[in-house]
């Protein structure tokens, strides 16, 4: 093959300047294999060239943090000698092409990140964004993605315990599929990925390598092989959860037996990225014999082997006298294990094939040579997004509005989706999907800590994943703050104290000034909120260039937060529990109509900004609710989120299977200061009743309990007793309007998504 040049580099996604830098750092123009590898490691996906500087501003330290960003997954200490590792990642582009396999391999990928650090995965969560379900394509993507997540998670025996789904027109052409996973490990099993020890062997184990995901690099194929071979370079990767389940057990057994020096999964950019990262982190070199890599297909070229994204593979570094034991462990699990190279002190990655050197690159240039770019943010002066189509008449009365909201795609019950996920395997799920705002998972004796004794405290983990692109689109800074607040609120509702968070940033093209502005403001908001609530970010992922023909997606930061509960027997539920208990609205909740779900149904434009959030007041409310739940004083707790107070009350009724009678006090809610900010089209006084019932904002909770318990909360956060649990209908009397609906009607309205899964 002729030496590739600038044209090839451009075809592979490098810029002219980047290609020049590659040539300079490499010392000569790279050959085909080398160029393929540079182009991958210098891509946005691997090099984070448009986001790394921003990510550095996020808080990453905290008392519980054991491993921060930079490893395959972050980890926090949960006591008892155990750590919890977790991470969220997106698989947006593959899912838009083939939703089932895209989502399935997304789950497979995030699980590998968890067991690569030595943790046994205990839960998966998913966060999905599609266009409106009225479009056939959205339904197809939704159906495929949900089935794919279920297929992978169910088959591998990790429960899928939570998630979120939103439908918004800007995701119509670029859907988002995020998967989060968490796992537990005894602290001493925690593993890093830095290669070490020149002379040690490099062992590749797991599935054979095929031509998966080579698509983009196929410009490098040698001409004579290219006839017909193009067809054989599928861009769709097929997940094999069975292979991964063996890989998982094999990896953990290798770690338990202390047979490996370091471990790394193969994800995007396959062997190139895995080897590059391991070498760079360990400041060593690697010699790789490409011919040793077990192949699924004949006639693969060296560059194909190096860039293949075949799933279900891992790479580890092993001391020479342990190699036999490692291979034996692989055989026991019916997993291929092959020595493909060795660690060197050369600081270079050297590739051989057919007895010849086919690539030789300085690790520094390959992994860290890519320039990092500054963004050029510019706030837009015109609305970036079209107003949604109106689906609800403004003349509808409050009861009708409530039913319409409960039936709207963003608020309808997710049961038809999550019933396709095994949420129970591993027997640790205390709070199942639909029962509360966060999932609660027991830490059991089998994990090396905890207890199975029902009579004593049962420590548990709580986890939630959240994002609200529409609100972030309205105000990238405060919308992102609100995402962190909501996630923390969800943990508070089950009584958990946050230990750390992971974030995924899905945005449009960062080279566009308005997208750069969204990204910059959003990361600033995430950072400020995490600092204010003392939640360090220990890992995450960035997905840029999510643009459709109609423009960028809504800016979508997604936060996954993990917390700890000393005793799962006290885990909070959102459903009203007992007739006669009092209902209260708790926290510094000040609703507005801007960017709320009702405004969407009315077809309103997004407002230009959302009201500020007082994070100190929010933190006090979170602590009060958390304490109320943990102490057993509160019988239910639920945060006020999409759909506002009325929807939150309805959800408490539905989850508890019992009604409530509520009366909102006159004078509530207070007028919004600085009118216009965050409100829809000025303050039409006719809108006040809708603002009270359906307006949205951060920091509000609906709780139930005894009057004394509610009183006790009032010492640290605002508490307004608004009603009583009981009956089989929900009544909300408010100055200027009234809602009355039977539980059966609420249930029917809320079940509207069933129709999407015939």
């Amino acid at each position: 093959m002729a030496l590739p040049g600038l044209a090839d580099a451009l075809a592979l996604g490098l810029t002219e300047a980047e290609y020049a830098m590659v040539c300079e750092q490499h010392g000569r123009p790279p050959n085909g294999v080398e160029l393929a590898m540079y182009s991958l490691l210098w891509s946005e996906h691997c090099a984070y060239k448009h986001s790394r500087k921003l990510l550095r501003t996020l808080p990453t330290e905290g008392p519980a943090v054991v491993m921060g960003p930079g490893e395959n997954a972050g980890a926090v200490d949960i006591g008892g000698g155990l750590v919890c590792a977790f991470k969220v990642e997106s698989h947006n582009h593959p899912s838009a092409v083939e939703p089932f396999q895209g989502a399935a391999t997304g789950v497979g990928g995030i699980l590998r990140d968890i067991f690569a650090v030595g943790a046994r995965p205990i839960a998966v969560l998913d966060s999905l964004r599609f266009g409106e379900p009225s479009a056939e394509r959205s339904r197809y993507l939704l159906d495929g993605a949900v089935a794919g997540i279920g297929h992978y998670g169910n088959s591998i025996g990790v429960p899928t315990v939570g998630g979120e789904v939103y439908f918004e027109a800007p995701y119509g052409q670029s859907c988002l599929v995020h998967a989060m996973a968490l796992g537990l490990a005894p602290r001493q099993r925690l593993m890093r990925s830095a290669a070490a020890g020149p002379g040690n062997a490099l062992v590749l184990f797991g599935a054979r390598t095929g031509r998966d995901g080579i698509g983009g690099a196929s410009v490098l194929a040698s001409a004579e092989l290219d006839d017909g071979a193009h067809e054989r370079r599928p861009s769709v990767q097929v997940g094999d959860p069975f292979e991964e389940s063996k890989l998982l057990e094999c990896s953990l057994e290798l770690l338990d037996s202390e047979l490996v020096v370091s471990l790394q999964d193969l994800g995007a950019a396959g062997l190139t990225s895995a080897a590059g990262e391991m070498a760079a982190k360990g400041e060593v070199g690697l010699d790789i014999d490409i011919d040793a890599v077990p192949l699924r297909e004949d006639g693969m070229e060296p560059f194909e082997v190096m860039v293949s994204e075949s799933q279900e593979r891992m790479l580890c570094v092993v001391e020479p006298d342990q190699v036999a034991a490692v291979i034996e462990c692989c055989e026991r699990w019916e997993v291929n294990g092959t020595v493909i190279g060795a660690v060197t002190d050369s600081g270079r990655i050297r590739l051989t094939s057919g007895g010849e050197t086919v690539g030789d690159m300085p690790v520094n240039a390959l992994v860290d040579g890519c320039p990092l770019y500054d963004l050029a943010p510019l706030a837009p002066t015109e609305p970036m997004y079209a107003a949604p189509d109106a689906t609800l008449d403004r003349a509808c009365a409050p009861t009708e509005v409530l039913l319409a909201l409960l039936a709207s795609p963003n608020l309808a019950s997710r049961r038809p989706l999550f019933e396709q996920y095994d949420c129970l395997v591993q027997s640790r799920t205390v709070v199942r999907p639909g029962e509360s705002d966060a999932a609660v998972l027991l830490v059991n004796a089998i994990d090396g800590s905890g207890t199975d004794d029902p009579a004593v405290d049962r420590p548990a983990m709580a986890v939630s994943i959240d994002g609200n692109g529409r609100r972030v689109a309205a105000d990238p800074y405060w919308g992102s703050v609100a995402v962190v607040v909501e996630c923390a609120a969800n943990l508070a509702c089950v009584g958990a104290e946050p230990l750390g968070a992971t974030d995924n940033l899905s945005f449009g093209n960062p080279e566009k000034p308005h997208v750069a502005w969204q990204l910059t403001e959003s990361v600033r908001g995430l950072g400020d909120a995490c600092r204010a609530l003392s939640v360090p970010i220990v890992g995450g992922n960035v997905s840029l260039y999510n643009d459709g023909p109609a423009g960028p997606i809504y800016p979508t930061p997604v936060i996954g937060m993990v917390g700890h509960l000393p005793d799962a027997r006290r885990a909070g539920r959102m459903g009203f529990a007992r007739a006669g208990t009092s209902v209260a609205l708790v926290g510094p909740f000040l609703p507005t109509l801007g960017a709320c779900e009702l405004a969407k149904l009315w077809g309103e434009h997004l407002p230009d900004g959302l009201p500020a959030i007082d994070l100190d007041l929010v933190a006090a409310a979170l602590a009060a609710v958390r304490h109320g739940v943990r102490s057993g004083a509160l019988e239910s707790a639920h945060d006020v989120a999409e759909g506002g107070l009325a929807v939150a009350l309805a959800e408490c009724c539905l989850a508890g299977g019992i009604g409530a009678e509520v009366e909102l006090p006159t004078g509530w809610p207070q007028p919004v200061a600085g009118a216009g900010r965050g409100d829809t089209g000025g303050s039409d006084s006719g809108d006040e009743i809708f603002r009270a019932l359906f307006g949205e904002g951060s920091g509000g909770f609906v709780v139930s309990g005894s009057p004394a318990a509610l009183d006790a909360l009032a010492a640290t956060t605002p508490v307004t007793v608004i009603g009583t649990v009981g009956g089989d209908s929900l009544t909300i009397a408010a100055p200027g309007g009234r809602i009355h609906a039977g539980l059966a009607d609420l249930t029917t309205a809320n079940a509207s998504l069933k129709a999407l899964f015939p």
Partner: protein, 82 residues
């Protein structure tokens, strides 16, 4: 007219089912088996055979990862669906 559609994983696409079967057969005493692929079989009565390709493209197969082959079974008709 009775038609049969054979749907199989495209060449180069991972076929975990085929792999699993291939690995299982020797243990049952069946040796020398290779290149096992598992796919789907759809049999149906169509009024207009010209529609079959469209059906495969849009519903029966996933052209991104599967290839299909249509066979017309002259003279035969299907057994009724229960």
């Amino acid at each position: 007219m009775r038609a049969r559609v054979l749907i199989r994983p495209k060449a180069g696409i991972l076929d975990p089912q085929g792999q699993a079967v291939e690995r299982a057969l020797p243990a049952l005493g069946f040796d020398g088996v290779e290149h096992v692929h598992v796919g789907r079989l759809v049999e149906l009565d169509v009024g207009d055979a010209g529609q079959l390709d469209g059906m495969c493209q849009r519903l029966l197969a996933n052209p991104l990862i599967e290839e299909y082959e249509v066979q017309l079974l002259d003279g035969q008709t299907g057994t009724p669906s229960p």
